[in-house]
């Protein structure tokens, strides 16, 4: 969480400084606990993870090197997307790390498909899949179709819904008419859990149960976290549509502060150690940033301009 927050602060300042990050910056501030708590239950190369917009913390917890985020935002060729795609649209499918497209909802069935294939190949073992979405994304047909399919196939899939109460500017009252999104689990015939998404310990507990149940054959698990993004939709957005009173309440429930207090209260760490972690994270992020700033950006003359793996079938680009 600390590394995620520190990294995202850097991304925000790079964006505001202008020049190097072209295009949007989408941060997960305020959602780190809910995201990381899922990520820590996932194993790189063993499980399947399809994170979305606000999952920097989950991506780190899953095992993505922190530098890959910077590399993707800066579009350098050393990054996993080599400048072809950017920002949050990154992954390494060969390691079970799916690369989201922008179209909300459409990753769920992809994660389900990976699990489905493992099952028919007999390689599923105790692996599980996880993907996440916001309250807004649940309104897509793709989300519904994917979840229904996963339920029919009883796949070991944990679906996180980060209910941060707004989809861009749109409040949940314009998004769905049910009282609580978790009620939908019943309709899909799957198990549902809800949790205070700002409470790290509660999130970890809920995900532990959800992943355990998914892995032993109880089918998809829906985990709905209540929280608020502590920022705009992207860094270009001041979120002026969120009432100040609501922002204040949530700023005082910043999940990182909550988590640190929890760790202190339980005697897991000390103030000094926390500070050391923050310092270490800043050093790591600064070092990664200066490294990435030196790395090469893509050269159109070296780019293959081929979208097929079967290169013999690629037509000339003279078109």
């Amino acid at each position: 969480m600390i590394r995620s927050r520190t990294l995202e602060e850097k991304l925000g300042s790079l964006y505001r400084a202008g020049g190097r990050i072209v295009g949007g910056v989408y941060l997960g501030r305020g959602q780190e606990a809910f995201s990381a708590a899922a990520g820590i239950h996932l194993r790189w190369d063993k499980d399947v993870y399809g994170p979305l917009i606000r999952d920097q913390a989950g991506r780190i917890a899953f095992g993505e090197p922190l530098i890959d985020s910077l590399r993707t935002y800066l579009g350098v060729v050393t990054g996993p997307m080599r400048g072809r795609d950017g920002n949050i649209h990154r992954g390494q499918p060969k390691h079970g790390y799916m690369a989201m497209i922008s179209h909300l909802g459409s990753l769920l069935s992809v994660v389900a498909g990976a699990l489905f294939a493992r099952r028919i190949k007999g390689t599923l073992g105790d692996s599980a899949g996880a993907t996440s979405i916001g309250d807004g994304g649940t309104s897509t047909g793709a989300f519904h179709e994917g979840l229904n399919m996963a339920a029919v196939e009883k796949l070991p899939l944990v679906v996180s819904i980060a209910n941060n109460q707004y989809a861009y500017s749109t409040p949940t009252s314009r998004q769905y008419a049910c009282e609580n999104l978790v009620d939908r689990a019943h309709g899909y015939g799957i198990e549902g859990h809800s949790v205070d998404g700002t409470d790290l310990l509660a999130c970890v507990k809920v995900y532990r149960t959800a992943f355990e149940r998914a892995r032993v054959g109880h089918g998809p698990q829906m985990v709905v976290g209540r929280l608020l993004r502590l920022g705009g939709h992207g860094e270009h957005d001041d979120a002026s549509y969120i009432p100040e009173s609501m922002k204040k309440i949530h700023e005082s429930r910043d999940c990182l502060t909550v988590a640190q207090q929890q760790a202190l209260d339980l005697g897991w760490t000390t103030q000094a150690e926390l500070e050391a972690w923050h310092k270490q994270a800043r050093q790591e992020v600064d070092q990664a940033t200066s490294q990435v700033l030196k790395e090469p950006t893509p050269d159109p003359y070296r780019e293959t301009w081929q979208a097929l793996s079967t290169t013999s079938l690629v037509e000339g680009n003279e078109g």
Partner: protein, 321 residues
């Protein structure tokens, strides 16, 4: 002083449509109080209470709903947050909206606004040009305004039309393109000679008009007079104006931002080749983006789409032939 932007023209047209026709309503994501991701509906919700609605993120249902409303006599304008997301509503557009009149003789007066085309750093899913995909389907009108005037008048005309219109507005032009006023309306379906010439014809539309005009200007320095035709509407396509231009110049280059396989540019070449082969002094050329998804990094993006430089290079090739 040029003061009205292309984006403001789109907002003004919607304002005017709402003001003059009580059957018009607006439906789209974040378009009410927020005014839309690009602010194309800024203040409209306040000025027309009960007629501008925030939609759930449900493109399929948004289009289906518009079709149902049109059957009841409404004239909805649907904003896709980005053209790219209209693919989620594709079925409703090409199978529901586009076939309704032909199957049932019930008109389907809906306008689907697609913020289209590439801008730096927008990547594969916020940059697409969809006009060619939709033009392939019978039953749709595909408009691709390149000027502030057209953005305004053609959007107003779209709302008046009794058929489904795919209104491809280019995001690259939103803020940069300005005009003094809305000028004169030109009928939908007519192309426009944006720059007269005699040595070669460039047929183009949308943001590529401006790149093409710059290329024509570059070639003027070399003593060539390049005629530039702005299609304005991809479908219907004004073949007469194209043929008349080719009759004057004998050389044709067609420029579009969408992917190279097929599409609007290929359609122009096919029509000219089959109907005016005898007028051509050189093989007709086309220039599109490259045949890969649209890249994120500006270095790649600039090479992916046609630019003034690549259009000039094609024109030189054409003129040398």
């Amino acid at each position: 002083m040029s003061s009205i932007t292309y984006l403001e023209a789109i907002r003004e047209a919607q304002y005017e449509a709402l003001r003059t026709n009580p059957d018009v309503f607006l439906y789209g994501q974040d378009i009410n109080a927020f005014g839309g991701a690009f602010k194309a509906t800024k203040n409209l919700g306040r000025e027309f209470p009960g007629r501008v609605f925030d939609s759930p993120i449900s493109e399929d249902a948004m289009i289906g709903m518009a079709v149902g409303a049109a059957v009841e006599g409404a004239r909805p304008i649907i904003e896709m947050q980005f053209a790219d997301f209209s693919s989620v509503g594709f079925n409703q557009i090409v199978n529901q909206a586009a076939t309704l009149y032909w199957r049932t003789q019930t008109p389907c007066p809906i306008t689907i606004r697609l913020p289209s085309g590439g801008t730096a750093g927008s990547g594969p899913f916020h940059s697409q040009s969809m006009e060619s995909i939709y033009a392939h389907y019978p039953g749709l009108v595909i408009l691709t305004p390149a000027t502030v005037e057209d953005a305004y008048w053609m959007l107003l005309d779209s709302v008046k039309l009794d058929d489904p219109v795919i209104f491809c507005e280019h995001k690259f032009l939103y803020y940069h393109l300005k005009a003094d006023d809305f000028g004169q309306a030109m009928p939908i379906g007519k192309a426009r000679i944006a720059r007269p010439g005699r040595d070669a014809t460039v047929v183009t539309y949308s943001a590529m008009l401006h790149e093409s005009l710059k290329a024509a200007e570059e070639l003027r320095l070399d003593g060539y007079e390049v005629e530039v035709v702005d299609l304005r509407s991809v479908k219907p396509m004004d073949t007469d104006t194209i043929l008349a231009s080719v009759a004057r110049t004998g050389r044709l280059l067609v420029v579009g931002e969408s992917f190279p396989w097929g599409g609007a540019t290929a359609e122009v070449v096919a029509r000219v080749a089959s109907e005016a082969f005898h007028l051509l002094d050189a093989p007709p050329l086309r220039l599109n983006s490259k045949d890969t998804p649209i890249p994120y990094h500006p270095n790649l993006w600039k090479s992916h789409r046609p630019t003034t430089a690549s259009i000039s290079a094609e024109l030189r090739k054409l003129l040398r032939y």
